[in-house]
């Protein structure tokens, strides 16, 4: 049974289950994303958290910020821990050894982009293949932010990170961002979606759908990082707005591995240049010799959007 959320005023009557005074940076989008997931449901939650910013900052001994069952597990196996708990829950239910068997319990795993795209990828793939009933949320800030900003396979081309610094010779990261949503959809997961914190209603809808879906669900959440993307702390929502409006982060969902639906179409599509311009990590791209990277990026984004629109039209 999911909670019905009609508008923001009604949503604001939810009792918060994610407490303040965690140690995430001021203006971090991680906590906005996580808070909404915890507030959008009345069910009990079992949460597994991979190592990363979110884990390090919300469970600093002797404090915890979670008003739900929460476990910290290694960098790679958040998906495995959540599915293990789910398997145990099902077995205990079958044997009739649960105290309150009618109360719904949802299993959620959180991981950063490092834990999802790189280190925990095999484990996530395995968990989805086994078909457990759980939701995996990837907090995608496109960099290993917790350890000081090394590149991950989610880092977009042209981004300057500590391991791919931009300078006289290099324009930053040379590799393209991995399309994780397409990969997870190809696993045949019943529900795969991309969300952004600035579109809260779209996010809540997708979360509720994800929790209600039986089977493995993958959600990729854009999480603007003030420290590594290098913008002022109060600009988090504005930068996310630019990300979704320039279609660098298109919001869409894929059901049963094939049926694609675009959930947000910006009224005015912003050029990618505007999105890059507000972030310090792309500052060097505005030099004369690097302009071709921006042009290329705009072409890639347009191509992707065209592809999404055609796929939606065709319904495959």
């Amino acid at each position: 049974m999911s909670k019905i959320i009609k508008n923001l005023k009604q949503f604001s009557t939810s009792n918060d289950r994610f407490e303040g005074a965690h140690l995430l940076c001021p203006g971090c989008a991680h906590s906005i994303i996580v808070r909404e997931l915890l507030n959008c449901t009345d069910d009990n939650l079992v949460i597994a958290n991979a190592t990363g910013c979110l884990e390090v900052c919300t469970a600093v001994y002797p404090h915890t910020s979670w008003d739900a069952s929460w476990i910290h597990i290694g960098f790679e196996n958040a998906a495995t821990a959540a599915t293990g708990a789910e398997a145990m829950y099902k077995t205990l239910k079958k044997k009739g050894r649960l105290k309150d068997p009618d109360k719904p319990v949802k299993f959620v795993a959180f991981g950063g982009d490092g834990a999802t795209y790189d280190i925990g990828f095999q484990f996530l793939s395995g968990a989805v293949e086994r078909g457990h009933d759980f939701t995996y949320v990837c907090l995608d800030n496109e960099v290993y932010a917790n350890t000081g900003g090394q590149r991950s396979s989610s880092t977009p081309r042209g981004s300057s990170t500590t391991t791919t610094p931009a300078g006289r010779v290099s324009y930053g990261n040379k590799k393209y961002k991995k399309d994780i949503v397409a990969i997870m959809a190809a696993h045949g997961a019943p529900y795969v979606a991309q969300v952004a914190p600035n579109k809260w209603k779209d996010m809540v809808k997708k979360y509720q759908k994800a929790l209600a879906t039986e089977g493995p669900v993958f959600i990729n959440a854009m999480s603007a990082c003030t420290t590594e993307w290098k913008f002022p702390a109060d600009q988090t929502i504005d930068v996310s707005d630019l990300g979704t409006d320039s279609l660098v982060f298109p919001l869409y969902e894929i059901e049963n591995g094939s049926k694609l639906t675009i959930t947000y179409r910006p009224k005015n599509i912003v050029p990618v240049r505007d999105y890059l311009g507000v972030q310090g990590r792309f500052k060097h791209l505005f030099k004369k010799e690097n302009e071709h990277i921006i042009t290329q990026m705009q072409k890639d984004v347009d191509k992707k959007w065209e592809m999404l629109q055609r796929r939606e039209e065709a319904g495959v």
Binding site: L8, E19, G20, A21, I32, P62, A68, A233
Partner: protein, 131 residues
């Protein structure tokens, strides 16, 4: 609360969020909950702030944008009305002031050492739209 030394901490730790085990988390408001000392709600990050948001009740339209976008659960909102800011948990990031849609804004960032009453008495006037 007694703090353990680094060499006394056992490997693996369980931190209870509440004192009573059968806490109805979904049904209880934050002020009614029986928080354990290990819940970060009992801690404070007030000393992180350089700027603080100040809330002006007269201009607020209770749209709750600040509530939904606050990363630190520091906006106190009860029964669809915005009540104020929880200065124990606010880190002063300024997102709430940025997303506030009213004119003039009902949340504005000020220096931490300024007095709230003084600031409220000099609240900016409504700006006219530039044509």
């Amino acid at each position: 609360m007694e703090y353990k030394g680094w060499d006394q901490v056992e490997a693996g730790a369980v931190l209870p969020s509440f004192e009573d085990k059968n806490c109805d988390i979904v049904g209880q408001k934050q002020e009614d909950r029986n928080y354990a000392q290990t819940n970060s709600y009992t801690a404070s990050v007030a000393d992180w702030r350089v700027f603080k948001p100040v809330f002006n009740k007269d201009v607020c339209i209770d749209c709750q944008n600040c509530w939904v976008f606050c990363p630190d659960t520091a906006i106190v909102s009860r029964d669809k009305a915005m009540l104020g800011i929880d200065y124990d948990h606010c880190k002063g990031c300024g997102i709430c002031a940025e997303v506030c849609p009213t004119n003039p804004k009902s949340l504005i960032m000020f220096f931490e050492n300024e007095e709230n009453d003084e600031v409220l008495s000099q609240w900016p006037e409504k700006k006219k739209k530039e044509k």
